[in-house]
Symmetry: C4
Subunit: 226 residues, 4 copies
Amino acid sequence: MVPKMLKFSRMLHSSSRNHLLEVLYARDFSTATNNNYSAKGYTSDRIFAPYSVYKGKAAFSLSPCLPTFTKLDSGALVVDRHGSIMMSFMPAIGERKYDWEKRQIFALSATEVGSLIAIGPQDSCEFFHDPSMKSSNAGQVRKSLSIKPHSNGYFVSLSVVNSVLNTKDNFSVPVTTAEFAVMKTACSFALPHIMGWDRLTNQQSSGTVSFQPKMNSQILDLEWEK
Amino acid sequence: MVPKMLKFSRMLHSSSRNHLLEVLYARDFSTATNNNYSAKGYTSDRIFAPYSVYKGKAAFSLSPCLPTFTKLDSGALVVDRHGSIMMSFMPAIGERKYDWEKRQIFALSATEVGSLIAIGPQDSCEFFHDPSMKSSNAGQVRKSLSIKPHSNGYFVSLSVVNSVLNTKDNFSVPVTTAEFAVMKTACSFALPHIMGWDRLTNQQSSGTVSFQPKMNSQILDLEWEK
Amino acid sequence: MVPKMLKFSRMLHSSSRNHLLEVLYARDFSTATNNNYSAKGYTSDRIFAPYSVYKGKAAFSLSPCLPTFTKLDSGALVVDRHGSIMMSFMPAIGERKYDWEKRQIFALSATEVGSLIAIGPQDSCEFFHDPSMKSSNAGQVRKSLSIKPHSNGYFVSLSVVNSVLNTKDNFSVPVTTAEFAVMKTACSFALPHIMGWDRLTNQQSSGTVSFQPKMNSQILDLEWEK
Amino acid sequence: MVPKMLKFSRMLHSSSRNHLLEVLYARDFSTATNNNYSAKGYTSDRIFAPYSVYKGKAAFSLSPCLPTFTKLDSGALVVDRHGSIMMSFMPAIGERKYDWEKRQIFALSATEVGSLIAIGPQDSCEFFHDPSMKSSNAGQVRKSLSIKPHSNGYFVSLSVVNSVLNTKDNFSVPVTTAEFAVMKTACSFALPHIMGWDRLTNQQSSGTVSFQPKMNSQILDLEWEK
């Protein structure tokens, strides 16, 4: 269902952005949740409400990251960095204990979220990210996220191969139909927000009457003809 | 469709939270709707807009309960208590009269709401809560909520067995396809809110330009290339 | 799919409410859109953005009506009058001219909106309202709204029989698949709002930290275990 | 699935409006994103967050345009110009370079968005706009947007024939299942906003208790009978 083209378009267009997102997210989260750290400024108003799925060998959580905007000289705002749904995987290190220090993260783009939302009961999909894409370090770290059907839901798996550190991390979390329904519903809710469309639709809410010239009074007459 | 695993994961992770939620909700509601009570402080701004299904032998209503947040020393907010959809069941005690004093409540977690949303026309699901889970009173009260298909919709049933009081309460409410569509649509709407994701997506709405360094100006150039 | 039960439950529970809604809506709308009327107070901030379907013999429009709330002595708000989706039908009186004075209105309850949302390509449904239900005038006016499939969508029809005036009004509007998709999407969006659930989910948005005692710090510890 | 009727109803009712929208949008966008232009007033708070699909021969982007309202003497607001989803197509002029100057735009009405949302895996649909409809220039420019299934998604194509300039522009962009899922989800989110229904549902949010007389206290009693 999800064509091969997706793989390549992601590698071409967004891998470097995803990597930076992942680095920023990890830093912010560590800072924000470290009680000994006297936070100044921008991290102080961060909100964390991940949706987490804890299973025997690993856990993962989902959390939306909003896009950022740049103000042009004209005063208009355009999307600078696109938003994403951040997935964080952690290995289990005991009964209901997970090792946050060994987490690996993967930032789902809007189109990858579209894949997740559109997936049918027997479909699978896989996404590939190279954090160093288009740099001299390309290919050093390769991440692959897959969603594959099983009898009562899906396996959500992340593989991270680091050829410099010579490490390979694998996480596989069985997700029930109910948990996947939460993921689909929450991601459908979040998608317009990570695209920035909530900003577009709110932009005229405070004003009342628009600036455009009245042009179709005859159409209005038609509609409210008495 | 909904695997057995769900039952156990709920019992392990959230029963004690659900119980406390149920106690708090019942207290708040009684307080807020008691005209003789001179409310001070926190209950004064509560809003009640349950979706209610009244049938011959019993009635139930659904109402979302939002999550609560804890502020860390860093200034960041993390979810403290997860939200839920609170279900309240009441027995009929006459024609269109229901006994609020004999109500029993059941707090659907996000994942249980996912079950309800994902249920197909011929599927059924069942959830088990033990309000005293992980305490010395474990097993004294057992609650079970089931949703089972019938010809024109579903039976939504709650069973509460209290082995201390030696009581057993059963409620069964036939729900039409139309009423269940309202439940699904309303629960899909409420789900991101009980997860706290509405807070995440609103957090940057008041600001305009993000704090992150501008990093992908060449990508912006590409996208608006002339 | 939509059981007979629906018909009776609507007649028992909401007809009188629907009638009052319909009267209020008609009065408000006439007032608000009458340029010669110097509106004072409550009608001055009304917004009208109906979704209209104009066809050869008749037209109809849909517009959401929000619920109203009553403040109890405790300070809590409870839903007073439930919201609805108001449907207004008008007969055609010439090419693209419709007679607003001869309009008839029908207020869809939340559960009737659920029926509309859940309807399949080959399903039909019908709702009956008696504006004078439970009064001495019961049966004098009978309204029936039906949605029936045709080759490329649905026929949406309203019949109003007034046995006092000895009149019978019939409107039938063919609706394309695309127009019905707009109706479904818009009604799904509006449903939580006419139920008042948007108020519930917004109520804690302005505050940050909840009033409940911290109770599950050990659960928080578990989730962010390092 | 999408009937022929749609084609004609669009041509009758909204082509002139769409044309004006398209002109305004193009002007606003050029102004807002031109760094050399010292914008005054209305364009300064524009937000641009298009969803873009870049492929080998062409690209397109989607962006919601909100409706505008007119204030009547009574103080009520009615929709003046309907909103739309604006589609902008650009031809490729090199590897990952697109010619913005040669863009063509097409404004999807609410009902056309309904078509897009309701389209099944094997369905296709086509919309026709004549920007000069109902003027002496009718027929000079004809635009046609089609969505047609292929093996892994859809082809989204725009054809613009200008008989005055004697030009014919064709754009065809293959869209994956995942990308189309983003389009459907984003358009479903945007639809109530381009219809103006978000304004309707927000209008009473700031107030608390409604102005209508209390009428159904006996119904409230019933619902909270003790």
